[in-house]
Symmetry: C2
Subunit: 348 residues, 2 copies
Amino acid sequence: MNDENKPSTTHTPISSLGEFGLIEHLTKHARHRHPETITGIGDDGAVIKNDEELTVLSTDLLVEGIHFDLMYTPLKHLGYKSVIVNLSDIFAMNATPKQVMVSIALSNRFSVEALTELYEGIHQACINYNVDLIGGDTSSSKSGLVISVTAIGTAAPEQVVYRNKAQEGDHIFVTGDLGAAYLGLQILEREKRIFLENPNIQPELAQHQYLVGRQLRPEARQDIISLFQQQNIVPNAMIDISDGLSSDILHICKQSNVGCSIFEENVPIHPESYHMALEFKLNPITCALSGGEDYELLFTLPSEEAKKVQDTAGFFDIGKITSIDKGTILYGKNGRADQLIAQGWKHL
Amino acid sequence: MNDENKPSTTHTPISSLGEFGLIEHLTKHARHRHPETITGIGDDGAVIKNDEELTVLSTDLLVEGIHFDLMYTPLKHLGYKSVIVNLSDIFAMNATPKQVMVSIALSNRFSVEALTELYEGIHQACINYNVDLIGGDTSSSKSGLVISVTAIGTAAPEQVVYRNKAQEGDHIFVTGDLGAAYLGLQILEREKRIFLENPNIQPELAQHQYLVGRQLRPEARQDIISLFQQQNIVPNAMIDISDGLSSDILHICKQSNVGCSIFEENVPIHPESYHMALEFKLNPITCALSGGEDYELLFTLPSEEAKKVQDTAGFFDIGKITSIDKGTILYGKNGRADQLIAQGWKHL
């Protein structure tokens, strides 16, 4: 289905390298970009120097058949995304990622070439986001591919932003349009079904580059953290939108013991998302609220601070934090007030 | 087969709690034992304070069907072991573990009760080893159970012990008998085969408690690190024996650019391991060299320092570091010299 996923012309069995040969092969290009990274791959543990600042850690597990489908996911993109989703968590703490550890479990249907592609994506993410690959674990699996990534970052103590400090009156911002990654996934699933029914039909992905790209190769919002530093802004609360706007704003409200009002008309939806949602007979706002995997940042700022960014391109003021007794409400374009509902755990 | 693995009388589907309810349920007993643990579970990232000392990190992925068989592994022991194997890596750096992050992927055949058992073991390890559970990720899996653990520790810069500083003339020590965990696994596999052939036959495990215990519920050698601190000992090189003595001493030799002489007669083998090896028609020394999963520490000390510990109960002086041109040699009881051979990657 995907050019980048065509079987490589060579297929070197992983067993030909052995575990340690494999690790060496995959990580020989790992360069340390931070003086704090004392030792990386090759010992029982990685060692990091760290004075004064706080260490911020995040970890994610990506499982084949749940988080990705290798039929339409190029391995290079998968490697890239597996790092990005963790860096996004570090940025959501207003911290700077410095290192990542990547563990992989895979079955013998994968070749060295396939794994090398996966690591190309991992290394590319490390380069683009200036982080050091410092360790991991390589293991077998009897079935699917599993990728576990832990990201390590630092921040000055006064800089770290949690989920539990949103204050009544805060403005709620998001840093980009929502729902596109979810719609990109719907397109990929549709083209997969068509392909499975008739392998001669070529998938129509070219005209949906934006949506498919948001799904397969997301970026994390490093630029927002830099902007905060330049403008001396420290949000009261922040989270990255991985589960969907509804679910994620509800995390902030629950942990901060507050309510919120979200205004549908202010929630940014890309025109392509809007049209594609209608094509799939979905409500665009539902895609934006519950789609997930946007990896935009969602943060709250008091009114005074909000003024600093209200005119910043790409920042969307979507609502306000209220007292807890006001509930967590979505105001529709028609003026109707609905309870915000978190999506359940889709996978189980 | 195993009393502790009997199906619980209640079976609460995980979907009834939802992802966040599940995390709350499993981690409500997580207590922070270190003032450095600023924030744990419940935000995008965990936050750790860390001045002066170095941070040491280690991560491991445990995959069902590869690293454990749920037919004979009580979930509580599995949770315990998944933490222990990571702490062992931190100790192998001569560092003190402070925090762990635990990620789990599982299919809907697991109940909340089953997962609670797994976490009981995780919490017990945290209590016994004085570490804080600070985060993780809970995810679905289409097939087996996957557990990914990252451990975080600290050490003074002059205290950290790497694999690459072994010096010619160093004595090589191990901290306990080897091969038992491997033989425990052979017993469990044998009893499983017998049980599958005739489910009415009860497994005979009681008389093999030591060996089976070494496999199912290993401990990490925190006591050794404490002893080093009390006696002002800093080994030149250290590693934990997870892959097997041969493979692990070869890591030290390769990274330190040295050779070694190991004397078979000095390699500690428990009498039960010895007898069980013969029962399985295996060579006891082969089990000790290549069995793996012993989680004993293997370290090297210069002669002067070696004197301090040579009479310490439980320390075994098994050989010496040589110049690289001498090779990596095992001297048998019969005086024969053989090349030490690292086991390949058994699983692929």
